[in-house]
């Protein structure tokens, strides 16, 4: 980073800090009732208190756990199913239109069905989160497989590679940018659905925490939970970008 860029960053942080200052001012002057809007000082104090008593740690761990399990399951299943559908033209013509039809369905609408089947349990949350997160990954995999340079397939045929070898050695690597982009989209979906499931089923996690805080009008705890959810969203997406960058380094070098 050169000097000008650093200066811009500093200025940008200063602007953000002044917004926090404005928030503090509004809270101090009680322009909005403190029942709804705690100042940043109280939200910060609630964060510190929550972490030092260990409450927030366990809630954060709960949400991360729901998110990670659902997302990993969706990634594995999505890539596997996507690979099966994407690598066969017959499957593509018969199955892909149905998937395209289902795609605009708001995935949260599956929650009542999952509750009816599995009850208000961890299994329900896992099912809902992975069902929601599977779509971007699966569709990206199908698209990536369909868009593989046809000459690579010709090479595979002349080398008489088996179908599995074609998938692992040719199609997966060349579809990996699509797949990773799909996995990044799914991360957000998984976080949102984790929160919804925690709210509905009372599962241990930040979603449950913010709802309980709201019910008890503990607005500082509520804001602490929301800030933590924002941080979770930010950190996971940055981590995913870094992973993407690392995993795709070979492609960038090729060009």
């Amino acid at each position: 980073m050169n000097r000008a860029a650093i200066l811009w960053r500093v200025a940008s942080f200063a602007v953000a800090a002044s917004f926090v200052g404005l928030w503090q001012l509004i809270a101090n002057l009680k322009l909005v009732s403190p029942v709804f809007l705690p100042g940043p000082d109280r939200a910060w104090a609630a964060l510190v208190r929550g972490f030092s008593s260990g409450d927030l740690w366990s809630k954060l761990a709960g949400t991360l756990e729901h998110m990670a399990y659902g997302w990993l399951l969706a990634s594995i299943a999505g890539i596997a199913i996507g690979a099966i559908i994407g690598s066969s033209r017959t499957m593509r013509t018969y199955v892909a239109p149905s998937l395209e039809f289902l795609r605009p369905l708001p995935v949260s609408a599956i929650i009542p069905v999952a509750i009816a089947m599995l009850g208000l349990t961890q299994a329900m949350a896992l099912f809902v989160i992975s069902f929601g997160a599977i779509w971007p990954i699966m569709l990206a995999t199908i698209h990536g497989f369909a868009a593989v340079e046809p000459r690579l397939y010709e090479v595979a045929r002349s080398l008489q590679m088996s179908r599995l070898a074609v998938i692992f050695k040719i199609a997966l690597p060349s579809a990996s940018p699509d797949i990773l982009a799909g996995m990044r989209l799914s991360l957000t979906v998984a976080l949102i659905l984790s929160v919804v499931c925690e709210i509905l089923a009372g599962l241990d996690g930040l979603g449950h925490w913010v709802l309980l805080s709201a019910r008890a009008f503990r607005s500082a705890d509520l804001f602490a939970g929301v800030i933590l959810l924002g941080v979770t969203g930010y950190v996971t997406s940055v981590a995913m970008s870094l992973a993407e960058h690392k995993l795709l380094a070979w492609q960038a070098a090729q060009r």
């Binding site: 960053r9 200025a11 957000t188 509520l222």
Partner: protein, 254 residues
């Protein structure tokens, strides 16, 4: 019917027929599943007593009101950030700090501030819709042909006219793509808020059907919600092709 669409329909029809036969043969008694014919009957029943239409109206009202507010806010900031690089750089940290907050996390805040009802749902939908519009319209404004801006300068258009006569028309195709994405998000968020907590609309309807142990009605709602999502998507894609044709494609894959 062409061969392509026949093949596309083969799988869903086969699944439905198998399920119907299996449910009839085993005399299915379940709280979570119902044979397709019962679902169709339940859907007609819900239409006949207008309950599903009222729920649809409530959901679409909240979704579109939130979408409209989110679009206006997102567009205003997106165009401002696109025009002024200074402003964009100064606001960068603020935007990146607020954007990752999952929209649904605001639900409890909106709940204590506004209570149950349309208002809290609209606020959450609007929050969710602001970001795609802001990011994509900012990118659209930045990618406007520089010569157009030179023309505006040469004509000494005042800033308001510059935005209205040059920037918005030039960026409109890509802004519409952003709007289409946001419309899908608006419907998803509205239904999610209703399922999670708000006793209103289609989401509340499907939750009630589940709690009343009416799997046929619950699945009828699910089918209907899916149909609305599909119809909205098709409508907006057709509108995009009609209005902008190829112009929108340049930004569609972003």
């Amino acid at each position: 019917m062409t061969a392509g669409s026949a093949k596309a329909l083969a799988l869903p029809l086969a699944v439905l027929a198998t399920f119907e036969l299996w449910a009839r043969a085993t005399h299915l008694q379940s709280d979570s599943l119902a044979p397709p014919s019962d679902i169709v009957v339940a859907l007609f029943g819900a239409f006949a007593d207008l309950s599903i239409l009222a729920a649809t109206r409530d959901t679409l009202f909240s979704a579109f009101a939130g979408l409209a507010i989110g679009t206006i806010i997102g567009l205003a900031f997106g165009i401002a950030f696109g025009i002024s690089d200074t402003l964009n750089r100064l606001m960068e940290v603020t935007v990146e700090a607020i954007r990752p907050i999952p929209s649904i996390a605001l639900l409890p805040i909106a709940l204590i501030a506004l209570g149950f009802g349309y208002r809290m749902e609209i606020v959450i939908v609007a929050f969710a819709c602001v970001w795609p519009i802001l990011i994509l319209s900012r990118a659209a404004v930045r990618s406007i042909e520089p010569r157009l801006m030179e023309v505006a300068r040469a004509l000494r258009l005042p800033p308001a006219q510059r935005v209205w006569k040059i920037i918005i028309p030039a960026a409109l195709p890509r802004i519409f793509v952003a709007f289409r994405l946001s419309a899908g998000i608006a419907l998803i968020v509205a239904v999610t808020v209703e399922i999670a907590i708000n006793p209103l609309g289609l989401g509340a309807g499907i939750m009630l059907a589940q709690q009343a142990l009416r799997p046929d009605l619950m699945l009828a709602y699910l089918v209907w919600i899916g149909a609305i999502g599909y119809a909205l998507n098709v409508l907006l894609v057709v509108a995009q092709n009609r209005l902008f044709g190829r112009a929108a494609l340049s930004g569609a894959d972003r």
